[in-house]
Symmetry: none
Subunit: 411 residues, 2 copies
């Protein structure tokens, strides 16, 4: 089995503020190809240490992937140091320089001269096209190792890895696969899911199952080792079928789709439309729904009615209702949901009202209290939640709960 | 100046699901003591690689901190491998064993025999008490380096570091501090910022300056090493004053505040209010603004008008305008901004309309074309942008550009 080492380059990765998330994504991709990640190193813009790190990696790893340090500035040292260690001269690559100039010209900008550095390429290196940025990636084949230099920004690194590197590594890795599946669950706690799931997954050593929680969404990750894709998928299916049956309607996806994707698919399938009225989530619910390309097919409109006055004026909520029950109440959540559905002329109206904190909580209505209303022609319902955590978590929990409420209603 | 290297031990850190957050916290603590983190390594439960990693670290680093791998099971290898590399025998430490047994007894449990491993201590090591768990930490003084072995769980590692290690390191480091400052810039490209900034910062070795880009926001990170907080801040100010002057109004913050925070502060200061109308950003602008606790003081409301029909009906955009110029045009952006300002009765109305892709682009109006309108009583303006990248980036660039447009108008 091939093993890989990931080297993140950049002094910003050695501050308290930045964490190397690229390596997590790369690990997932490499595992899918049956390649194990055996080391990860973070090194600053420090030529001596990067030099040493590369020399050691070349001795012990089959596949070496660096991220970052390919920018146009003085402190971007990756190209230079790898070229030195691998004893390859850096040469100006004219087609890359032309592409860089054209990229700037397209935006009516003159290329700053320092960007020409990004067209320097070590001898015998293969260029990996960067469709989302200026720095091209580089691949070099050494006697014992394959070396890849990738840009740091995930938006540039990921498509480059998928389109240029996966095909190469698939050939290198041969017949060894790690197949993964993810069950996404909403509406149960992490320990609630584990109580149901552990009696099933703990009977299997292959696939291995891990449980993770992210803003109210619980994920069961299954990983199977196999000699073929088919064998791996069979191993996964045996366990995931049992888990899906035991967890029932709490499972919203078994292929990594997000709640907003699943909701969008159901809306399309039913030729239904949706409009949203938000108070405490302040636009996050609309933003999540419109994250999906093509969401204009079913997402009609959204209103962020932060003030009571906006709830009354735009959504037509009865002022007496707010006076009698407060803006954070099932009555107001339902009136907001009705209001946005009528305003938009949509099939469904969903509304969120709550107290995200840190201020604004009382003994009777504490921080974390959230009501979600769902309106359709046949009638209107609402649900009360009390979410733990801070403003960030409460807002995210609320969005997930609202999406899940639509999903359960429509499926 | 002392430099540190952090080694995270454990195969779970080499999966796609776990990120080494301990090292971020440790970096913050070490920086506060004037100790720079120069390397971070993640190694699995792999004796050969951990052995090699320790040997290299001993050659180049003054302070070596490992986290994890001190548990009671077979795959917890940290104690054993460090002892071997440092040529110290492992000895049973009776007081630690007694403490472990007492800890279990207190909870009416018999200590599993494997836990006795946690009482094995390398010769001449100092024991660091673990108030929240079973594994004690260990400190060993070598000729050229101080070595600390800490448990992996943050709730055990952090109090141990604070109570046992900080006093030791404070003595070792003497009067040495790292002070940091961040200038946040919008409206210039990364290389555009560097062309202006490099002639200034490259004249200084202390502070060191690093440049980073994140969704259109460019950050200059300055780090100064000094013998006192005051001296460090003086070094920072000398450089950052020059940078701020050269970069002028492009700098929106010099203390790490986000664009939405700065905009909120200005709105509060001017007793002004804001309402937003969004098309392609689909609620993200409102969500960013309402991320800030207390934003209800100045954020009145938002409308996500995805369809032309919603732009006409809610925002009062003239249908003829959309027919004549298209929904993505400066005319419609301005009409949306006027519309939301009137609807909300706010000081400012800001509107975003554009083509986020991947579909919907034409030769005349390509993906990435975005208009931002800004309305106030004195008049309405708009700006045209052509953003690079994919749907995610275009939406994020648009939100930042809209926030920056408000900032420039109001300051």
């Amino acid at each position: 089995m091939l093993n890989a080492e990931i080297i993140a380059v950049g002094s910003e990765m050695l501050t308290p503020y930045r964490v190397d998330t690229n390596s997590l994504w790369l690990t997932e991709q490499l595992n899918a190809l049956g390649i194990e990640v055996r080391m990860k190193v973070v090194v600053g813009d420090d030529e001596a240490r990067l030099d040493e790190t590369i020399r050691i990696a070349l001795k012990r790893s089959n596949i070496i992937i660096s991220t970052g340090g390919l920018g146009p500035t003085e402190d971007d040292i990756t190209r230079k140091v790898f070229a030195r260690v691998l004893a390859r001269r850096l040469q100006l690559h004219q087609p890359t320089l032309d592409r860089l100039r054209a990229r700037f010209a397209k935006r009516n900008m003159k290329m700053p001269e320092i960007n020409a550095r990004q067209a320097l390429v070590p001898e015998r290196a293969q260029i990996l096209e960067n469709t989302n940025g200026t720095a091209p990636g580089l691949m070099m084949r050494e006697q014992r190792a394959l070396v890849f230099l990738l840009p740091g920004p995930p938006r540039e690194m990921k498509p480059m890895f998928e389109s240029s590197i996966v095909p190469i590594l698939r050939q290198e890795a041969g017949q060894s696969f790690i197949r993964r599946r993810k069950l996404s669950i909403f509406g149960l706690s992490e320990s609630g899911v584990d109580e149901i799931a552990a009696p099933i997954y703990s009977r299997y050593k292959n696939p291995e199952t891990t449980i993770l929680a992210d803003r109210g969404v619980i994920e069961l990750h299954l990983a199977a080792r196999a000699r073929s894709v088919g064998e791996g998928d069979l191993l996964l299916t045996e366990v995931s079928d049992q888990l899906e049956e035991a967890l029932g309607h709490y499972v919203f996806s078994s292929n990594g789709e997000s709640l907003e994707t699943v909701v969008g698919q159901w809306l399309k399938f039913r030729s239904a439309t949706l409009a949203v009225a938000e108070s405490c989530t302040g636009g996050m619910l609309a933003a999540r729904l419109t994250d999906i390309a093509g969401s204009s097919d079913y997402f009609v409109e959204g209103v962020v009615a932060y003030s009571n006055e906006a709830k009354i004026r735009i959504l037509g909520v009865d002022e007496d209702l707010i006076v009698a029950h407060g803006a954070v109440s099932s009555e107001v959540a339902e009136a907001m949901a009705d209001g946005i559905r009528r305003l938009a002329g949509s099939t469904f109206g969903v509304a969120v009202t709550g107290i995200a904190g840190p201020g604004g909580g009382t003994e009777e209505k504490p921080v974390g209290l959230v009501y979600i209303g769902l309106s359709e022609e046949a009638g209107t319902t609402s649900r009360k939640y009390l979410f733990p955590g801070d403003r960030y978590l409460i807002r995210n929990f609320s969005v997930n709960a609202a999406l899940d409420m639509v999903r359960r209603r429509i499926r």
